[in-house]
């Protein structure tokens, strides 16, 4: 990847991380850990890869993204806002009763959200439906889905995986945000979904393992997924929960809790320092 482009993507993802902190601390609740871990993947998709137009969020020919791990709205909303779908300022209203920024994605209220999700396991099925519609209509849009690694414990994920392979949905690319942690602790302690890539392979998928914070690797994997014919692709992206905020990294406790005011200030300062060094 071109150094300038990479540097620009890093700036954007750092800004998105700052906005994640702002949204969650304004709300006093929400899910920062998994939003921070998936921020680079969202940045790459919305700022480099996807065919989308913030002025026409319902364009039938657009690429689609389903956030199957729907609780990571801070990450999705911060990305959509920075991409121009709605004002960044509105992130401060996240989870408030008079705001359109619901705690979990709502496709009717939030411009740019392609599917309402939140109940785990359902988003990947909806993404299968979108990819199937693309095949029926002979359209060349692509469908992306982002799963949590803990979410793989939902049986429906594997129903969807079976269906995607059965119907040869090579227009579907799923990411697994493999940060290794869920609410109750390590995924391997709670209910071990590993080996993740092998499981998808045995379900008939093309599987690629990458570092989910490396834009070169994300790009290479997405390009490989796009050129791989006949099978859906899963990109198992190793990530760090809480990535970019030192005191949040690799701690399950930041899955679903908001930073206090001083913590938010520290997080924003760390991210600002990182931004200044880019």
């Amino acid at each position: 990847m071109d150094a300038m482009v990479k540097s620009q993507l890093k700036r954007i993802s750092t800004q998105i991380r700052k906005d994640i902190i702002t949204a969650v601390s304004s709300a006093g609740s929400g899910h920062p850990g998994g939003s921070l871990s998936v921020a680079d993947i969202l940045t790459y998709l919305y700022f480099k890869e996807m065919n989308i137009d913030p002025q026409h969020p319902k364009n039938p020919d657009r690429d689609r993204l389903v956030l199957s791990k729907g609780h990571c709205t801070p990450g999705l909303y911060a990305t959509l806002a920075n991409r121009g779908f709605f004002p960044v300022e509105d992130l401060k209203t996240f989870r408030q009763a008079d705001s359109y920024l619901e705690g979990h994605p709502n496709m009717d209220k939030v411009p740019g959200v392609d599917m309402s999700t939140g109940s785990l396991g359902q988003g990947i099925s909806a993404a299968v439906g979108m990819a199937l519609a693309g095949k029926v209509d002979r359209k060349d849009y692509r469908v992306f889905a982002i799963l949590g690694d803990g979410e793989l414990q939902e049986g429906e994920v594997w129903e969807a995986a079976m269906a995607a392979a059965h119907y040869n949905l090579d227009n579907l690319t799923a990411f697994v945000d493999y940060n290794g942690l869920q609410i109750d602790g390590k995924i391997t302690d709670v209910m071990n979904p590993e080996p993740i890539a092998d499981k998808f392979r045995s379900f008939g998928w093309n599987a690629i393992a990458i570092n989910g914070h490396d834009f070169d690797e994300i790009e290479k994997a997405v390009e490989q997924a796009k050129s791989f014919k006949g099978k859906p692709t899963v990109i198992v992206a190793r990530t760090v929960k809480g990535k970019g905020v030192s005191f949040m990294e690799n701690l399950a406790s930041w899955h679903g809790s908001a930073p206090k005011k001083e913590q938010a200030e520290q997080a924003l300062k760390e991210l600002d320092d990182y931004l200044a060094g880019l």
């Binding site: 389903v66 392609d114 599917m115 309402s116 909806a126 439906g129 979108m130 199937l132 519609a133 129903e159």
Partner: protein, 311 residues
């Protein structure tokens, strides 16, 4: 009323008849011979997808297809649609108000020999509690055919409750139906019997017998439980002063409850309910089960006399 046809057969025929609309996609979960979506599949195989025995996935796949502008019919047994896939119907279809029609066949105890595990008697209660969901339970093949087509024409989620059993045809071919509007099949002044599904036929049978005893019973088919025809129900309560509801569903949360909700808020009158009395079904010949569970004209007559005593 000599012909007997299952409403699931009418569902499959209706799908095949409207299948020329290329926007329609039909999904099934390994039951296309039973749900009768195979009628559609024969004509339009490229738009019929078997999702395997995975109802939860099927419902959310339907939501994804609908989000891309498709009119989707997702079919399986009522138990596995409303029951197993409740969360998917609620969150992926109902919450975003997507254009998915749930073709739920084999509802109620007339499933017969398969027994309680396959006899949904809770589905209407579940489905009508979802905001924005339209819930339809046709009486016969004629109304089922028409209501399936009307469901396809309207935008939004619809739960279509269909039966396995061959049931008498109540309506003349060409009868006009409207989703949300009940139909008065027989006028009467002493009491109103409100029914849906195959119990409409039983209600008419009961009303005829009551007439012979000098009791004038009105019979209304409330094929749409949600949105319910409030006006017609209030009018019936005002004019006849007593209501009997009849349904092949638990008396908890179904048609009887929906009618009672309308009455208590608008025009309280005595109500008696004929339905499955809050117990599970069982295996047996459908005709035998109908007797065992009191889904009969005789029981309707008994409840009618009881409600008249309470007037």
């Amino acid at each position: 009323m000599s012909d007997k046809i299952a409403t699931r057969v009418a569902y499959g025929q209706a799908l095949a008849e409207i299948g020329g609309n290329e926007n329609i996609i039909v999904l099934d979960a390994d039951l296309s011979g039973s749900t009768k979506t195979d009628s559609f599949k024969k004509k339009y195989p490229e738009r019929h997808f078997n999702m395997g025995i995975a109802e939860s996935n099927m419902m959310a796949v339907a939501a994804g297809l609908a989000s891309c502008g498709k009119t989707v019919f997702a079919s399986t047994f009522a138990m596995f649609a409303a029951g197993r896939a409740f969360d998917q119907i609620r969150n992926s279809i109902g919450y975003p108000h997507l254009n998915v029609k749930i073709g739920a066949t084999h509802a109620g105890i007339t499933v017969g020999e398969d027994g309680a595990s396959h006899q949904a008697i809770e589905d209407i209660a579940l489905m009508r509690s979802i905001p924005g969901m339209t819930v339809v339970s046709p009486a016969d093949a004629v109304s089922a055919n028409a209501l399936v087509k009307l469901a396809a024409e309207m935008y939004g989620p619809v739960y279509l409750r269909l039966g396995r059993l061959d049931v008498p045809v109540v309506y003349d071919a060409g009868t006009k139906f409207e989703i949300g509007k009940g139909i008065t099949l027989k006028d009467g002044k002493d009491v109103t019997i409100i029914a849906n599904g195959f119990m409409v036929h039983k209600a008419l049978e009961a009303a005829e017998k009551l007439e012979a005893e000098g009791i004038s019973a009105r019979v209304i088919d409330i094929h749409t439980i949600k949105p319910i025809d409030t006006e017609l129900i209030i009018k019936a309560a005002s004019e006849t002063g007593a209501i009997v509801t009849c349904e092949e569903h638990n008396v908890v949360g179904g048609l009887g409850s929906a009618v009672a909700e309308v009455l208590v808020k608008n025009r309280p009158v005595p109500v008696e309910m004929v339905g499955v009395e809050d117990k599970f079904g069982k295996s047996g010949k459908p005709a035998h089960l109908v007797e065992m569970y009191g889904l009969t004209a005789e029981n309707i007559i008994e409840k009618t006399k009881k409600v008249l005593d309470r007037k």
